[in-house]
């Protein structure tokens, strides 16, 4: 994934033209698809999940969130020793 997939380098005038295209009601959608293709997102849409029973996650919730404690536990730093850090 480190190998760049897209040759265009957009800055200066080229970037301004790209912004105009992206904001255009006429070509904005096509421009999005171009960006998708160049950034590998089109291939992402081709991933077939039909054999999987996977629900989307919209918030990461790494588990297990065990050993719950509260903030009160933490204000008792031992300041007598700099090694406490």
């Amino acid at each position: 994934m480190a190998t760049p997939r897209t040759p265009p380098r957009l800055s200066g005038r080229a970037l301004r033209a790209a912004v105009a295209a992206a904001e255009s009601p006429m070509v904005g959608r096509s421009f999005k698809q171009l960006m998708f293709r160049q950034l590998g997102l089109e291939a992402l849409m081709d991933v077939d999940l039909s054999g999987t029973d996977v629900t989307p996650t919209t918030l990461p919730s790494p588990h297990p969130p065990t050993g719950a404690e509260t903030r009160e536990d933490h204000g008792t730093a031992d300041v007598s020793s700099p090694d406490r850090a």
Binding site: M1, R9, L15, V54, P60, P62, R71, R84
Partner: protein
Amino acid sequence: MAPPTFHRPTARDYVARYRDGQLTPTEVARRTLRAIEASDREHGLTAFVAVDRERILAEAEAATRRYADGSPLGPLDGVPVAIKDEFDLAGYPTTAGCAWRRDAPPRDRDSTVCARLAAAGVVRMGKTHMHEVGLGGTGINPHYGTPRNPWDVSRIPGGSSSGSAVAVAAGLVPLALGSDAGGSIRIPSALCGVSGIKPTYGRIPGTGGSLLAWSLDHLGPLGASAADLHAFLQATWGPDGHDPAATEQPAPGALEPLDPGDLSGLRLAYCPTFGMDGQPEVVAQFQAVISELRERGARIETVTLRWREQIQPVGYLTLCTEGATSQREALQRHRSAMGGDIRLILNVGSRVTAVEYLHAQRIRRLIRDELVALTADYDAFLNPTCATVAQPIRADAARTGEVDDAVSGPLSAYTFAGNLSGLPAVSVPIGTLDEDGHRLPVGIQLMGSAWSETRLLSIAAALEAMRPMPSPAVFYDILA
């Protein structure tokens, strides 16, 4: 590797000077203010966007009095810490790197993280520059200027926590607050040769932050050492009752002192097809560390990642879509004041359909489950933090912003894994390589299971001892 003749002052060094009476927080704050000015004047570093001298000296004087009274608040009392300009700090506006926020009024209250730093006695040393709205890995900001990499001031610092990384790397502060939605703590840490941690999702509440992408954003520190990162984490972790992402969680325990000469207790893993396709010299540095860890007794296994090729695309899609949503009103009202790169990415994100976003989130679930299972079996999963070292800043990119996957793609190629999964990830400098007559840092990333920050930072501390870093070309020793 350069000889280990350089010691980067840590927060612990600052506190030791205060305790033995060699220095006071007030004197250190004065020196830091002078060094910030000098770093701009002499080298154009521009790490800081706003520095309120009176507020800083008031906080430093309060810390000085506590030491004089024999009642310091803890291991960070009187330590200067820079604040990324994405988080509210009373008395300062929060611009998040946006030109349209340039004249925003000062905030009247602290963000949760800044309030907790104040409670720990920290001297909040002003606000640092950042990539506009945090949406970019280079740190290039056409509105406020691009902070310069202290290893080579013609190169990017990395972003989005660009000023925070530069401030730590140049020795201006030992710690700085950053945030990370796709690598924004770890990328600039790696490119500037300092340590940085993106903790577990929800570890530090984002309340009072102008954040970008709800499901990807993490707060965390960049610092002079792993021990400093740990001290920061201890001062700022835990729910605040406002940020729904910051739920009940275990406390970070004490650092485990690992013997860098004998790491036989460690079980580590890396994937030969994830992280080995970058700049050859970066890969070589990473492989050298793997060999060195093995020589010191660590058990290192290779693993496969089925969903590795989807990690960065899912990260991109999630980031640009959530970013377009969080910045929706700003894009409608202030688009002409936005940098071209931000405007372009947000417009593309605005056109992502719900079906596309949710399809990506289904794949994200598979990525997350795979990484959660992997990190359950090992102390850490390793890869280079970035696939390249810092690249030069091009003149027109500095003027308008830049969208260039050849530059930004290799920066976040491996970092998104931590954001998509919510698992903690640390970047530690492991050496430098020579390019165009400059030494440029390389970082290694360690990712672990949920809430395992202390274990990761203990390993990071051993790596710091194993691979001491030379000094950057631009460095100010505040304690000297």
